[in-house]
Symmetry: C2
Subunit: 361 residues, 2 copies
């Protein structure tokens, strides 16, 4: 219902982005800010209560966008750039699949899911990544994530699956595995190209770029374009066949192995476990969440101003409910994520974390 034509704002569509491999990608710019973002902060989207009072509050921007870049639901400044952090791991895994590396190197769905995941460092995660690296003739010591630590700690790092994917891609491309985290390395350049296309932004080289917690580049772009990239991950119909197939395989892998994407009991894993391909979700550090509802043709992105994961999770769950993704059974199974309790350490419920986003759309 929310994706109904005319329900949202249509972005201006400037010159098509001509890519060497495809001219079917369109550039989609978020509309210029409608207000002075310095004077109009993002709205309070999450309240944390204790007793009868709100004790803490989280401001955020939220964008729900269709595959044409229409904003169908929004809160706050969706045109403001954000570092997408780990929320784009499913996009960062696209080159691994569409290059043919995944097929050539027998990358299984669990491996692909852990490449898209920010995992808990549990035994299942370590064994999956280690086994994959072993097949490549590599080990934990080749990982750049947590590079000051011994190999086992690197394997336990939440990004080790993504890094294994980067190493696999480097192998397949015939590029050196050393230095794979550098922006100039062919692996990161492939990722860059995918992001330029999927976000609809074209050339991202002039965008602010920083180093993610695991040592790879993270590039800032508008939150709405992150949502657009996710919409296209979910519904890539206007894209080249290889990408369509790669997106489908990544969605399938994440839905088939929810525990690989985060960890047993964690919010993202529980949502994937309940909703399967109905809602692909992925979190990132500093309060980022992104995902898509493929059958609705919608993508979404959340950035909590202050970086709190508790707020990003609450917004994502409220958003899935608002998008009518949750059955009564889902709502019951996920009730502690929809209305997370604030408890004493003895377990007494004394407050609630509740989404209060003033949806606009």
């Amino acid at each position: 219902m929310h994706a109904a034509p005319g329900a949202g704002k249509v972005f201006s569509l400037p010159q098509p982005f001509l890519d060497a491999r495809s001219c079917r990608f369109r550039m989609v710019a978020m509309p210029a800010p409608e207000r002075d973002s310095a004077s109009a902060p993002n709205p309070v989207c999450v309240e944390v209560t204790r007793g009868a009072r709100v004790e803490s509050r989280h401001r955020a921007a939220v964008a729900v966008v269709d595959t044409d870049g229409r904003v169908v639901l929004r809160a706050g400044a969706v045109e403001a750039p954000v570092y997408p952090r780990s929320a784009i791991k499913p996009l960062q895994a696209l080159p691994l699949v569409e290059s043919g590396a995944a097929e050539a190197l027998d990358v299984g769905d669990a491996e692909l899911a852990v490449a898209c995941g920010s995992h808990a460092g549990a035994r299942e995660h370590v064994e999956t990544v280690e086994g994959w690296l072993h097949r490549l003739g590599l080990g934990g010591g080749d990982l750049v994530c947590n590079a000051a630590a011994p190999p086992l700690e690197r394997l336990r790092d939440n990004c080790s699956g993504k890094h294994a994917g980067f190493l696999a891609l480097a192998r397949h491309l015939g590029a050196p595995t050393a230095g794979y985290a550098a922006f100039e390395h062919p692996v990161q350049q492939r990722v860059l190209g995918v992001l330029e296309q999927m976000t609809g932004l074209g050339d991202l080289t002039a965008h602010a770029r920083a180093t993610d917690g695991c040592g790879v580049p993270t590039i800032a772009f508008p939150l709405g374009n992150l949502a657009l990239a996710m919409a296209r991950l979910g519904d890539p119909d206007d894209q080249p066949d290889r990408r369509i197939a790669a997106c489908a395989r990544i969605r399938r892998a994440m839905a088939a192995h929810p525990a690989m994407v985060a960890g047993r009991g964690r919010a993202v894993t529980r949502v994937l476990d309940r909703l399967g391909e109905g809602a692909i979700v992925k979190g990132g550090a500093e309060g980022v969440m992104a995902g898509c509802c493929p059958d609705l043709g919608l993508g979404f992105a959340v950035k909590v101003d202050d970086g709190a994961a508790r707020a990003a999770n609450a917004i994502a769950l409220a958003l899935l409910d608002r998008l009518q993704r949750l059955t009564d059974a889902d709502r019951e199974a996920l009730t502690d994520l929809l209305e997370p309790p604030v408890t004493t350490r003895a377990g007494e419920r004394v407050g609630t974390i509740r989404c209060t986003a003033p949806w606009d759309g």
Copy 2:
């Protein structure tokens, strides 16, 4: 310099608060809000950068108040009520000392410091609390904090020292030790009386009251009055002799045993370790910090809107610097607290947490 007469706003001073034990306490109300707090959110006081961009931001209210209730420095809505949480542990320990319980029960400075602390649950904390309870003929099982857990876990709970103090006070008062966390229990009523006097607010029974993480009541009152209570803890000259002595003993105990107040390496412990009685500081959950500079006659209080401890710490350190509490040597020793680095997990510095509070005063 900041406490110079006329430098800040003078609160109206309504009817003196007549207390059964003393009529020397004055009521001090924070001034009415000067603006619509719904439309004017608290200012951004902390920015978290990554590369060249601000990735996350924290809004907060900050009050620096003298012992007469003059606001000498402020940011945001200092008149808005907050739950003070664990930041008032030094105030909650006052009845233990001024009742004579601490003297009668041979409570040492380390024990008093851990009663004022939110400790790390390290061996030194557990042993200190356990030894104290043992002298009272009690054990970990008598603690209400983390009451669903076994006795050792309760001893490890960050509030176990405060609870040991409550049990000691109950013993001294001849009150039952069971039920000491209830608002109606004589122990909590003594604490209530101290808060009513130290905050200058008088009757707090109509204020919003909720349950703290350790199961005891937490009462909401304006941030500025929390700062005032801290100013009076640091400089209680207009108060009864017993309280003057109790405040002095608590300050001395906290300064003498910094590791008991938090834990080795933690911000509060490191500040107490460097500054001694020059700056008594104490943190609370959900982004609260409070403290005093006794020789300046100033108290301060911080509440981060979103509850982030990283922001509360950064503001407290910047505030101490602004109040000229830090020598060059202090600034160097505490540089990672004054400008906390944002690092990759491999240890590379990629950003900074910086206080940007627009001080008004």
